[in-house]
Subunit: 226 residues, 2 copies
DNA sequence: ATTATCTATAGATCTATAGATAATGC
DNA sequence: ATTATCTATAGATCTATAGATAATGC
């Protein structure tokens, strides 16, 4: 119904030198390009010029959207926690037993890490530096959720754990280990990874190993529903 | 019995500007300083000048010992596999059952990763780049050892595994995950980490969970001997 | 006039090269 | 003379700043 022809690129502002037209939010495009480069070459190893080129724009414009290079990294780090923190909120509103909640949190977390490469950015050494402390504070929220679920699982007698801190770190660590080796090009699917690893992690926390089947079955049923 | 006084610094060559005297092999000192910085700030994020300063010498001298910055990284990466590959060789010369061998390999590997911070260097994005391909070839030897032990364990009926590749990657991944979170400053000891994680990994491979206790007991006994 | 982009560049790096210097050895 | 180190620096970056330009909007 529009009187304008769709293929005429009517857009305010000087055209891009690269010819590539901006599709959607420019900041998002920059972030995507940066995520790929950071994963391949590291944060310091990827120049703002390279990132800009990958996003189809000039370095000067990138700086206009992200005045400091560090702003790009901060945005990516923060974004990488959103999904898991949303899952935590959802689960804690449910009335599921702690072992069921933890299984689902772990399973979801693994899937997320398999599909979104940028979730491995927190492993970059530069992420440890003080400018990114607020990211680690957020992440501590996620770690507490794991810890609380493990602790609650012990209280109801489902889990048996000596050292709560060690069990928590080992569980989160095993979830995150998937970013070290999962390769989207290989035959193994994210779902298969998630099933395998989640079984290993929850299985090792359970007091009675044979409870695992019921937990897995319940989670699979829940997934089958809308 | 020496006629020379020990505190006179008789040494050929121009003295260091830093005043810090070289203790032992200079290349080793440079590598140690570089490992710390690479872990903290990444490879590209650590300049040769910084590394030299940390080792108590000037940048020009560092370049004399390692003509390319990349040579430092190559040396560190290569070194990080030595320990585990030696363990593999030792174990395969033994007549232990595959599940016992794998438990010990995993356990040793975790200990090593806890004590030697530089073993996490392979996680740096820069390590993936083609100049370091020979490191990955060596590492593939280690991965094969894991894979073969899991496969052998299945054949003798101790392990039950659907997907050999997935089981291998998950096992190595879980071992390596320790570098993500282990912190020497915390209360948890390397030994406690190794026990916990190795139990989780081998436990999940076993067909009959109750075999785990015997494997752990045998490994602990072997460690107690000289 | 407003907007989105561009180009040009200053100042601060960083790696690797070249050659000088301050010890001991003979 | 030999050795281990140094200083100085060229050339190539890299980030962030400043201001110009090429579109549409009115």
């Amino acid at each position: 119904m529009s009187t304008e022809s769709d293929d005429k690129p009517r857009r305010v502002g000087r055209p891009r030198a690269s010819g590539v037209e901006s599709e959607g939010d420019v900041r998002t495009q920059i972030l995507q390009a940066a995520a790929v480069l950071f994963v391949q070459q590291g944060y310091t190893g990827s120049s703002t010029r390279e990132i800009a080129a990958a996003a189809g724009l000039r370095q000067g414009l990138l700086v206009h959207y992200f005045p400091k290079k560090q702003d790009i990294f901060t945005a990516l780090l923060t974004r990488s926690l959103d999904e898991s923190l949303a899952t935590v909120a959802e689960l804690s509103a449910s009335s599921l037993a702690p072992e069921d909640q933890l299984y689902r949190l772990v399973h979801e977390g693994i899937l997320e890490l398999c599909v979104d490469r940028s979730s491995s950015l927190m492993l970059l050494p530069e992420a440890k530096q003080p400018e990114f402390a607020s990211f680690w504070a957020q992440r501590e929220v996620l770690r507490s959720a794991y810890r609380n679920l493990i602790s609650a699982g012990c209280e109801v007698g489902s889990f048996a754990v000596d050292d709560l801190t060690l069990a928590t770190d080992a569980a989160i660590g095993a979830v995150e280990s998937v970013v070290i080796w999962f390769d989207a090009d290989n035959a193994t699917t994210p779902a298969a990874c998630a099933d395998h690893l989640a079984g290993m992690i929850i299985g090792h926390l359970l007091d009675d190993q044979s409870d695992l089947d019921a937990i897995v079955a319940a989670a699979n049923e829940a997934l089958a529903e809308p």
